[in-house]
């Protein structure tokens, strides 16, 4: 590709005289109306026929799990299992090594280490933040659990980046590799952890190792995706200039593409940490220990404690996020201009920090401070206060309840129930043809074909009715997510204040375990599906906001200035320049929004959405492995279909441009 055609590419993205939707919206509405006629005329006359279902699939899967377990648990398992075993032991040891390391430091030394590292490499405000985070763990009486979780996250994030970043660089440089990788990444993000937890446990046993592995499966995809996006965002002419200067391929990657993609790489690190922290609770189910345990077991017997555990996870997430960011910014070579004087001072400071940590550890041992903070805590007081708040929410005679309950009922009776009935009771051929036709109209032939295959898969696995129920909920949640997310993302990109306000809220929403904040909603809106939808929206919105906002901010300031010089108003700059130029990032946001909504389907199932999510949860916990896998396949198929439908046009356009 030459620089000239590349230069012309943005010009082609300016909306044509006839925007695509002008002709198609009518057709899509037409298809929808035809489906409605099908629904009204032949309501529940033609459910998916049992003859079209591969009934023995679940029992095959069940037998596979039994076989796996039997061959693993013999006195002399074969070498394949020995390899898995070795890997699990390595991960176990890694995590327990980190944990003992922190315990050896004593809690005083751990505090000193954390604070001084951030103080040396980051900004002092973040060091204060880290100190406050440590203080909060101690106050909440969750020191030990926090250290365990930190060790787990440290191992999982480190390994995820080691695996994810190189793959992301390759995917950023090779379209073919990206195309090959994308479905795998989709699968890793959409297939609920509950579905593969049991095989993971059989292969890797329980404990921190299995927990790290499960976390990695979920945390690697964002590392790869965002790295690839960053590499692709490096201006092509810069890369070509480097090549023209005679750089080798390795030099181009290391000296040009990676440094220029620095911002996105940091976003990748950041998102990997947050994604990993959102798996803490699930990791707790298979022996991950730490804060995940506090949340899961607290939910059943002491909800206030579960909330404290959730808060600790959030505090850890925010502290990690902010301090990694500040360290990255301060060590940015582009901003640093070190003089000899400064260098000397920094070296002295490093020495002082090392000495400080050493001193703290020494003092800790001398005074017999434990590896775990064991002094006074405010846990009892905190628990009582939280419990008071919960009691208030649970009281059905407060004014809040009189607003929230009718709202919830209205959403269910007027919105969800009719929509679910429409999806479930429309004769399946009508629904099938209708959906595929819409995919064709919106995105073109290829996506329509993929959609058809996916829905056929759903039918054959015997999950048609359940999937249609889930689909209606996912659609509602996705629409709300994208509407709210894109609007807030644009607003955050335009206004620093909004960005400042949204950032901590986003962090909280992304890392606070859904089960924790959804419990109050169950009390307030006691109708089953609503809390599930609230959970999906709250979880998916932050990613959409972040990606949309960062995409808009990445738009080159020169272009914006040029537009301003031509007399464009702020609104025009936003709508005609920034948004079209940031379309890739916005589409990625939409796309990730859908995937995130689907990622919460299982959690939503646990708080009342039923459907596929409930079946997956049962699969793990009631030993119905086959059922769980089949339901997960259906979730994946739904995800791919929705994803291709929304991404089809952008991709088709890019492929034409290549």
């Amino acid at each position: 590709m030459s620089a000239a055609t590349d230069y012309a590419a943005p010009a082609a993205t300016i909306p044509a005289a006839h925007p695509w939707w002008r002709g198609r919206v009518g057709l899509v509405v037409g298809v929808a109306l035809a489906m409605l006629v099908g629904y009204l005329g032949w309501k529940s006359t033609l459910p998916w026929s049992n003859r079209l279902v591969w009934n023995s699939l679940t029992s095959y899967l069940d037998r596979f799990q039994t076989w796996l377990s039997d061959s693993r648990n013999t006195p002399h398992p074969n070498f394949v299992f020995a390899i898995f075993n070795g890997f699990a032991t390595f991960l176990d040891n890694l995590v327990s090594w980190f944990t003992t390391f922190f315990e050896k430091l004593t809690w005083v030394g751990t505090v000193a280490l954390g604070t001084l590292v951030v103080l040396r490499f980051g900004r002092w405000q973040q060091a204060v933040g880290v100190l406050a985070a440590f203080a909060s763990f101690a106050l909440m009486g969750l020191w030990e659990q926090s250290v365990q979780t930190f060790a787990l996250i440290f191992a999982a994030v480190g390994l995820s980046l080691v695996v994810g970043m190189p793959l992301g660089v390759i995917a950023g440089r090779s379209d073919r590799f990206l195309r090959f990788l994308t479905p795998l990444l989709d699968a890793a993000q959409i297939v609920p952890a509950f579905a593969y937890l049991m095989p993971v446990v059989i292969l890797f046993s329980v404990g921190p190792g299995a927990a790290v592995l499960t976390t990695m499966i979920y945390a690697i995809p964002p590392a790869i995706r965002i790295t690839a996006l960053g590499i692709r965002g490096v201006p092509v002419n810069t890369v070509e200039a480097a090549a023209a200067m005679g750089s080798t391929r390795w030099q181009t990657v290391a000296k040009v593409q990676l440094p220029l993609a620095r911002r996105m790489l940091l976003l990748a690190v950041n998102q990997t940490i947050l994604f990993a922290l959102s798996m803490v609770v699930i990791a707790g189910l298979i022996g991950g220990a730490g804060l995940g345990d506090v949340v899961t077991s607290g939910l059943y017997s002491n909800p206030a404690l579960a909330i404290l555990g959730g808060v600790a996870i959030v505090i850890m997430a925010i502290a990690l996020d902010r301090s990694t960011e500040s360290m990255a910014n301060r060590t940015d070579p582009a901003r640093r201009h070190l003089t000899d004087d400064k260098k000397l001072r920094l070296r002295l400071f490093t020495l002082a920090s090392v000495a400080g940590v050493g001193l703290a550890v020494g003092l800790g041992h001398a005074f017999g401070a434990g590896g775990i903070y064991s002094g006074r805590t405010a846990q009892d007081w905190l628990l009582r206060s939280v419990q008071k708040g919960l009691d208030y929410v649970q009281n059905p005679s407060t004014w809040i309840f009189h607003i929230t309950e009718p709202t919830g009922n209205f959403i269910v009776q007027r919105g969800l129930e009719p929509l679910t009935n429409f999806f479930v009771e429309t004769p399946w051929p009508v629904m099938f043809v209708g959906i595929v036709a819409i995919a064709f109209l919106v995105s073109g032939l290829r996506p329509a074909a993929i959609t058809a295959i996916m829905f056929a898969t759903i039918g054959v696995t015997g999950e048609w009715a359940t999937s249609m129920g889930t689909l209606s909920q996912v659609l509602i949640a996705t629409l709300i997510t994208i509407g709210v997310g894109v609007a807030l993302g644009v607003w955050a990109a335009e206004s620093r204040i909004v960005d400042r306000i949204l950032r901590p809220i986003n962090d909280v929403l992304q890392t606070l375990p859904q089960l924790v904040y959804i419990i109050p909603f169950i009390y307030l809106m006691p109708v089953s599906q609503v809390p599930g939808i609230v959970a999906s929206v709250l979880y998916a919105v932050p990613v959409v906001i972040r990606l949309v906002a960062s995409g808009l901010r990445e738009v080159s300031p020169d272009t914006v200035e040029a537009a301003g010089a031509f007399g464009a108003t702020r609104r025009q700059v936003l709508l005609k320049v920034k948004i079209p130029l940031a379309r890739d990032a916005i589409m990625l946001g939409v796309n990730q929004g859908i995937i995130m909504v689907l990622a919460v389907v299982v959690i939503a199932g646990l708080v009342g959405s039923g459907g596929l999510g409930y079946e997956v949860a049962q699969g793990l916990q009631r030993n119905a492995f086959g059922l769980g896998v089949v339901a997960s396949v259906a979730i994946l198929a739904l995800g791919i279909a929705l994803d291709r439908t929304t991404r089809g046009r952008a991709r088709a356009r890019r492929e034409r441009a290549l």
């Binding site: 377990s69 039997d70 648990n73 005083v108 000193a112 604070t115 103080l119 900004r123 405000q125 060091a127 204060v128 100190l131 203080a135 937890l197 446990v201 059989i202 046993s205 329980v206 189910l285 298979i286 022996g287 345990d293 077991s297 939910l299 059943y300 017997s301 909800p303 400080g356 703290a360 003092l363 800790g364 017999g368 401070a369 434990g370 903070y373 064991s374 002094g375 649970q394 059905p396 009922n409 009776q413 969800l416 089960l515 169950i522 006691p526 109708v527 089953s528 599906q529 809390p531 599930g532 199932g605 646990l606 409930y614 949860a617 049962q618 793990l620 916990q621 009631r622 030993n623 119905a624």
Partner: protein, 326 residues
């Protein structure tokens, strides 16, 4: 210039604060607990999500600590914990609700897990309604009374049918099959995990509204809310017993819920390892009332689990001595 000054001053403040914390912390701490571990070594017990399981685990922990064992507690869910026992990572589960498929696979076939016998507690699952509702509709004592009256339990999401509130997806259940087999006009509504289900029915209870739901004993909330059970038919035409004949195929489960003898299961490695803790755990057995009381201490009164267990142990020396073989 001023900017740099601020940064440096900031660093000084942080360093000072840190020093203060170190000193203050050292003064406050100083409780290095040296653990005395004798030949018993470490025993790993598994605690499951419900409060009854917490009660078993912590009482056993309190007793084992008396003979100098160090006790670790894992919190792994019901099915994966079998693999943990097979690997010797967890030594004992003190309350297992008859996971027949796992018994077959891990105990009978692989010999990686051994049966530890009943823990003395009898579990019972059933359909429950609030007692105030039972007083209002005495015919709800048995399932026949529900027939034709299902609409009493109408809810926003059940349409024209009555709502049956299903249990936690991880629990033993067959309500969908029962509703179908008994020809009741209920819509099975799953509100999800137990905390969600509890939130739902307690909310309705507080408003004195009708609700029928999956519930079980022993459960500490039974001390807090007045609930009555709806009698389901023990056996009826086409009924197959769960784990004798119907094992494996969920479609064949049509009998009422049984009273379930709750078992202890042990890792084979632990059972054969000669730990002095094994015979004690093997003898461990108590009653529904004992367990409910400890569970209430923990979940109802929000007492620390260790303290709750010690409170019970102190008050029940005779039982504990029996476990200890004294």
């Amino acid at each position: 210039m001023s900017d740099r000054f601020r940064v440096r001053r900031g660093r000084a403040i942080v360093a000072a604060a840190l020093a203060l914390v170190v000193v203050a912390g050292l003064a406050a701490a100083g409780t290095a607990t040296a653990r005395t571990t004798k030949s018993c070594g470490t025993v790993t017990l598994n605690e499951q999500a419900w409060a009854g399981s917490t009660a078993n685990t912590y009482v056993a922990k309190a007793v084992l600590q008396k003979i100098g064992c160090k006790v670790n507690i894992t919190k792994i869910t019901e099915i994966p914990v079998y693999q943990a026992m097979a690997d010797g990572k967890t030594d004992a589960v003190l309350e297992d609700w008859q996971h027949v498929a796992q018994y077959k696979q891990y105990i009978t076939k692989q010999h990686t897990v051994v049966m530890g016998g009943p823990n003395g507690v009898t579990g019972h699952i059933g359909w429950y309604i609030p007692t105030y509702l039972m007083q209002q509709y005495p015919q709800f004592k048995t399932w026949q009374g529900l027939k034709g009256k299902e609409t009493v339990f109408k809810s926003p999401e059940s349409g024209s049918q009555g709502m049956f509130l299903g249990g936690d997806p991880s629990y033993v259940q067959k309500d969908k099959q029962l509703i179908q087999a008994l020809g009741l006009n209920f819509k099975f509504v799953s509100v999800g995990a137990e905390p969600a289900q509890v939130a739902r029915w307690t909310q309705l209870y507080k408003q004195k509204k009708p609700v029928i739901f999956y519930w079980y004993t022993p459960q500490y909330l039974n001390l807090q809310y007045k609930l009555s059970e709806v009698q389901l038919p023990k056996r009826f035409k086409g009924c197959l017993d769960d784990f004798a004949t119907g094992g494996g195929s969920v479609a064949k489960y049509k009998c009422a819920y049984d009273h379930i003898v709750l078992n202890k299961v042990f890792s084979s490695k632990f059972a054969k390892g000669g730990s002095p803790a094994f015979p004690i755990l093997k003898r461990f057995s108590w009653t529904n009332k004992d367990q409910e009381l400890v569970a209430k201490y923990i979940a109802g009164d929000h007492l620390n689990s260790d303290k709750a267990a010690q409170k019970w142990v102190a008050a029940n020396q005779a039982k504990v001595n029996k476990w200890l073989g004294k």
